[in-house]
């Protein structure tokens, strides 16, 4: 409390809020309240009387320009849980079945949702990671929003089930709170090393959509978007978070629920001409036909299906056609997501710093500082990792150099090089610790010989 008093002096902050809080907190124990107040005041008085003017007072954190509205504090886990509920609401779905198996750092999401049953979520602690995604797939088949959540090693266990969800084209949201690996690795430390696993980590050609949240509050919006893509395109969506985002908290402008996107699901009900793989021409999504619907009794499964009838088929040309259809469906999501924008700086120039996920803050501040030094750098931060926004290649080519800082050994950089044949360079940190702003600034300077 003494140190807090000194801090308040250094940063020129009012003591009143803290003093009121102490009195309220220890209302029943006035002697404790007084002791705390005395310590706080003593710390503050020390700042005023000691000769330490180089430290303050007057290091004032200026108010930032923020959108008007009502704000509260939210953690990444809360924002993600609420985003899933908001997504369920936007899709007009009655139920969400959230199935998980205890794993650090993902369990927090299970705990949060377990306490929100009154909002139409049923949580299920399964016997293992495979059963958790299996139950979510079963729930999706039965017409609920199926969601599962895990971390890297659990994600590996869910792999075969993801293939089933892709083959049966069922909507599913899979949250991966990434941690250091391989294997058990560093369970409590953040890493961004599951990107390859999310995008490519399955047997056969098995595409799905991959999104990443950048900040604690962004978790809310990304969760809604994951539900939108999953239900509109009848596909599993992997939402990448990480240990850092799961615990991070920040101010959040409470959204106006009426202004959130709406994307009501239309369950198929008409038996005329129905088969389970009859694709919607624009999205290539198959119909969502729930058991319980008369006249739509049908069978789905992991075996290859005939494009025209939905029956089992081992026909060579049909398999090629279905493989292409699955790929085209996912690639087509690019036409239904926003164009990639530049988070800071110009849309062309000497250097683009391209990131994804929880590195947002460090990259943003790093680029900001570099620009204050007169360096021509821009910050681009990706939410959509598969498919990429359709203008991304063209945007990246407008920069002389592309720097991709990641908390892994170089995954997004490889995906960008493969997709766009651009000379992107990696800047990698795998210490289980977030980037420091200074590290980003230094990396920028280094690339531009400054």
């Amino acid at each position: 409390m003494w140190a807090l008093g000194l801090m308040l002096w250094m940063y020129g902050r009012d003591r009143l809020v803290t003093l009121d809080w102490l009195k309220k907190k220890f209302a029943g124990r006035p002697e404790i309240a007084q002791a705390n107040v005395a310590a706080l005041n003593a710390g503050h008085a020390f700042g005023e009387t000691a000769e330490m003017s180089e430290y303050g007072p007057g290091y004032v954190v200026r108010p930032t320009a923020v959108t008007p509205g009502v704000y509260r504090t939210v953690s990444g886990t809360e924002a993600l849980a609420w985003g899933l509920l908001a997504g369920k609401r936007a899709a007009g779905l009655e139920k969400m079945i959230f199935a998980g198996y205890p794993i650090t750092p993902a369990s927090l999401l299970l705990h949060t949702l377990a306490d929100l049953k009154r909002y139409g979520v049923i949580t299920f602690q399964a016997e293992d990671e495979i059963a958790a995604i299996g139950a979510a797939i079963g729930a999706a088949y039965a017409g609920a929003l199926g969601v599962t959540s895990t971390s890297g090693p659990g994600m590996a266990l869910k792999t075969e089930m993801l293939g089933l969800a892709i083959a049966t084209e069922l909507p599913l949201v899979v949250v991966d709170s990434q941690r250091g690996g391989p294997s058990t690795g560093m369970p409590t430390k953040a890493e961004q090393s599951d990107l390859f696993q999310a995008v490519h980590g399955r047997n056969a050609d098995a595409p799905l959509a991959v999104l990443a949240a950048a900040t604690a509050t962004d978790c809310f919006d990304v969760a809604i978007e994951a539900v939108r893509i999953a239900t509109k395109y009848m596909t599993p969506v992997v939402l990448l978070s990480d240990a850092f985002l799961a615990h991070a908290a920040e101010p959040w402008r409470i959204p106006d629920l009426d202004k959130l996107p709406r994307f009501p699901v239309r369950f198929h009900t008409d038996p005329a001409g129905f088969h389970p793989f009859l694709r919607e021409p624009e999205t290539l999504a198959r119909p969502w036909a729930r058991p319980g619907t008369p006249g739509l009794e049908h069978r789905i499964g992991g075996l290859e299906k005939d494009y025209d009838t939905g029956h089992i088929s081992y026909d060579p040309e049909n398999h090629a056609r279905m493989t292409r259809a699955r790929a085209t469906k996912i690639a087509g999501i690019a036409n239904d997501i926003p164009l990639q924008t530049v988070a800071l700086g110009d849309d062309h120039g000497a250097l683009a710093v391209v990131g994804w996920g929880s590195t947002y803050g460090a990259l943003h501040q790093g680029v900001r500082r570099a620009r204050e030094e007169g360096i021509d750098a821009s910050h681009i931060h990706l939410r959509y990792l598969n498919p990429f926004p359709r203008n991304l290649g063209e945007l990246l080519r407008r920069f002389d150099r592309i720097l991709v800082p990641e908390m892994n050994n170089g995954q997004l950089v490889a995906l960008l090089r493969a997709a766009f044949l651009v000379p992107a360079e990696g800047f990698n940190k795998v210490e289980g610790k977030p980037f420091k702003v200074a590290e980003i600034v230094e990396a920028i300077r280094e690339r531009l010989d400054r």
Partner: protein
Amino acid sequence: MTVTTITDAELQPKDYASDQEIRWCPGCGDYAILKAVHKALADAGAERERTVFVSGIGCAARFPYYMSTYGFHTIHGRAPAIATGIKLANPELDVWVITGDGDGLSIGGNHMLHVLRRNVDVQIVLFNNEIYGLTKGQYSPTSRRGTKSPSTPQGSVDYPVSAGAFALGAGARFVARSVDTLQAHLVGVLKRARAHRGASFVEVFQNCVVFNDGAFDAFTAKDVAADTQIHVEHGKPLLFGAGKNRGLRLKPRKLELEVVTVGEGGITADDVLVHDETNRALAHMLVALEPPAFPVALGVIYCSPVPSFEAEVYAQASAASAGRGAPDLAELFVTKEGTWTVS
């Protein structure tokens, strides 16, 4: 795909069959089980649109494709997990899990354990042929010790698991057994399983004509069946044999069954145990009986219902929302710690 017309008229067994060509080997026991399921559903007046068959991988797992109900052919061993999700999303559905000895007791043993102990309201029909048929004849977890197969040319050395004992050990509240060739008996058992609220486990001894032909002949062959099978029925004496004069009783002063003959050595009908399907200890003894010393117990061996998993889950969910009215997400965003306004 043929669109089936829905009528309220009584459905016949054939109405539960799909239009798909059946791919099981000629003579496979699976045909008889399929027929029994069609009959059981017709007898029970099951609604096709409310019925879902979920399977894993294996010969048995092709089952859903041959049904005119909803069906989900999933991945190896995992059908109970998917069935659990289906029941959680819509408890009104009548869900069946079709599995085999490899699917349900090897790769899927963990899920089988948990779907039974949770008591999810599904019917689990385990086709036990003591062999891996679809992958061409490797020994399975229920194969008897010494089984020669492509993967065990000198005979298997591991001991088999008993499906019935596993189910009881996992906490199943309904355990029954039948044989593919006992059509009427099998239909009766399947109807009991369907009527039971909670997880019902039905083991069907099923002959694989290609890779394990005659595996169950010791108690299913016509000439020996009467003396090697005991058809248990709740409240009735545990009698078997062509003359129904052989019975099971507890050995004096021991917790051990023995076979006795009524009318011999002073044994009367009153000495024979009466089947009590709610008695778990008796069920454990019955599933353990093996020929030649004992008959194989068939029928509903154990049935002692408790509320199902999903019923309990939904009871909690409705308790959580009771009296609060229609939930509004905006209410969720309100916080004790307070909000602040930026204008």
